[in-house]
């Protein structure tokens, strides 16, 4: 796995609870630049909460969340975005009354210190033809891409992708797989939450399996499918 020294993101002993419900319990892992890590687990296992804790929507109750050597657990979302952490949302959250181009532009202006090439992002995502359309008029799948584009416009070093594959056809899935691999090749670290294990197997070398907020397994997806604890979490013992 990735050595601690070169880790971009490091979580250790992360805990998050809502009232009496412990959603993340002693979660710890790290991600290196250019690596694609899969995050899997049954519904309610804490995958999206993990993403929320990393991206700043929630703050961990205990434990360490560090990015590029800096403790970020108390930083608000926009600061994390400016540092280079970004995400897409399970249900795409685009700026519906703004055009596709404006959606990307706003993130390019506020989230990144470099000059971002808005047209290149639109091309990468196949949205160039829709650039002047209001984002609300796009299909859900197109909005998912735009959500990703908004994240990319901030020039992220770490990208959290929350269930982008759901509802895509095989051709679209191939496109997304190629896109994510391409991003990783540029040195961006990715954490991909996904139920489509086939898709995940294709793009990741390492997956983390969560069950009821605990880390059950870390390693290759193949090995995970033979791990009794993982099998029990998914299918019951």
């Amino acid at each position: 796995m990735s050595s601690e020294a070169q880790a971009l993101l490091r979580l250790s002993g992360v805990r998050k609870h809502f009232g009496g419900l412990v959603v993340l319990n002693d979660v710890g892992f790290s991600v290196a630049p250019g690596e694609i890590v899969g995050l899997v687990g049954p519904n309610g296992s804490g995958k999206t909460t993990a993403i929320n804790v990393i991206s700043g929507l929630f703050r961990a109750d205990a434990g360490l969340v560090s990015f590029a050597g800096q403790d970020i657990n108390r930083l608000p979302m926009f600061r994390r975005a400016q540092l280079g952490i970004n995400r897409s949302f399970q249900v795409p959250k685009v700026f519906r009354d703004m055009t596709v181009r404006e959606n990307i532009e706003v993130a390019a202006h506020c989230g990144s210190k470099r000059n971002t090439d808005v047209d290149a992002i639109l091309d990468d995502l196949d949205l160039a033809a829709l650039a002047e359309k209001p984002a609300g008029s796009l299909t859900v799948n197109q909005q998912k891409l735009l959500d990703l584009g908004r994240a990319l416009a901030t020039g992220p070093k770490l990208l959290l992708v929350d269930e982008i594959g759901a509802g895509l056809n095989p051709a679209e899935l191939n496109g997304i797989a190629a896109l994510l691999q391409n991003l990783a090749a540029r040195g961006i670290a990715l954490i991909v939450v996904e139920h489509l294990l086939d898709f995940l197997n294709r793009i990741t070398a390492r997956v983390i399996v969560l069950g009821a907020g605990r880390m059950l397994f870390e390693g290759s997806l193949d090995a995970a499918s033979r791990d009794p604890e993982v099998v029990a979490a998914f299918f019951g013992s």
């Binding site: 700043g56 926009f78 975005a81 685009v94 700026f95 706003v106 202006h109």
Partner: protein, 311 residues
Amino acid sequence: MPDDSLLHKLRPGALVLALLAAGFLLLPHMYGNQSLLFTLMTFIVLTQGLNLLYGFTGYLPFGYVGFFGCGAYATSLLVLHAHLPVLACVAGGGLAAVLMALVLGPLLRLSGAYFSIASLAASQILYFVVSNTNLADITGGPYGLKIERVFAPDASYLAMLAVLLLTSGLAAYFRSSRFGMELRAMKQDPTSAAMAGIDVVRERLIVWLVSALVAGLAGGVYAWNLSVFYPDAVFTLQISVFAIVFALFGGVGTVIGPIVGAAVLYTLYSAIGISSPQYFQLIYGALIVLLVLFLPGGILSLFTRRGIRVF
């Protein structure tokens, strides 16, 4: 090229400001009742100031009148006790409203109806404190304040015009700047906006303070123009309600919507609202129902629906 696009961006705003200035400088020569024109300007300022907050961030302050009253009282107290030039006192009134908004800043943690009601409560607290008999030595309590020695209808008319131009200039800036684009993003999805790198809390607070500032300045000039007023005159909830309905009628989130809305409805109010209030109430009520049912975007949405861009 950048100069060109800048000019292109500034043109609609400059046009609106020029029309307003020309209109309100010429109207007193054609229409005798300058006091009515003054009140009309006051309501355009308040409507536009409310639009700055509601139209661009989605926060609807039912207690908006609190800032107006705050500005009126601070200005009058400065006139009475500080012996500064009256314009400096008006500026102090604006500043007092900004300070009040800063104190009330945590209200922005609420959203939707909760925010509206909390801001209404805050303005009522202000009203009851100011009009309290025990404070009669300072605020005049229920008897109000008198600053008749600075009474100057013409100068205060021009001062209100200046506040009107400032407010409309701010709305034009919000409408066409990058800052305004960030506000639009925040209004549609604050979480996504934060992930786009926008400091949502800070920008919302800035707009809140700016909208309080213009209400405070308007309150200050209004007090100067009246020069004798009771607490009811500057804290009545009717002022908030008028500003809200005028803004919704014209169309929020635009520059000219609130101006048109306030101009049309205030004219209607001054034509029949006082002589036959029952018909005014009837028309007013019917208008609100019709607006909510058919034109939730205000009368300007008649144009935007047909693809005509409205500034």
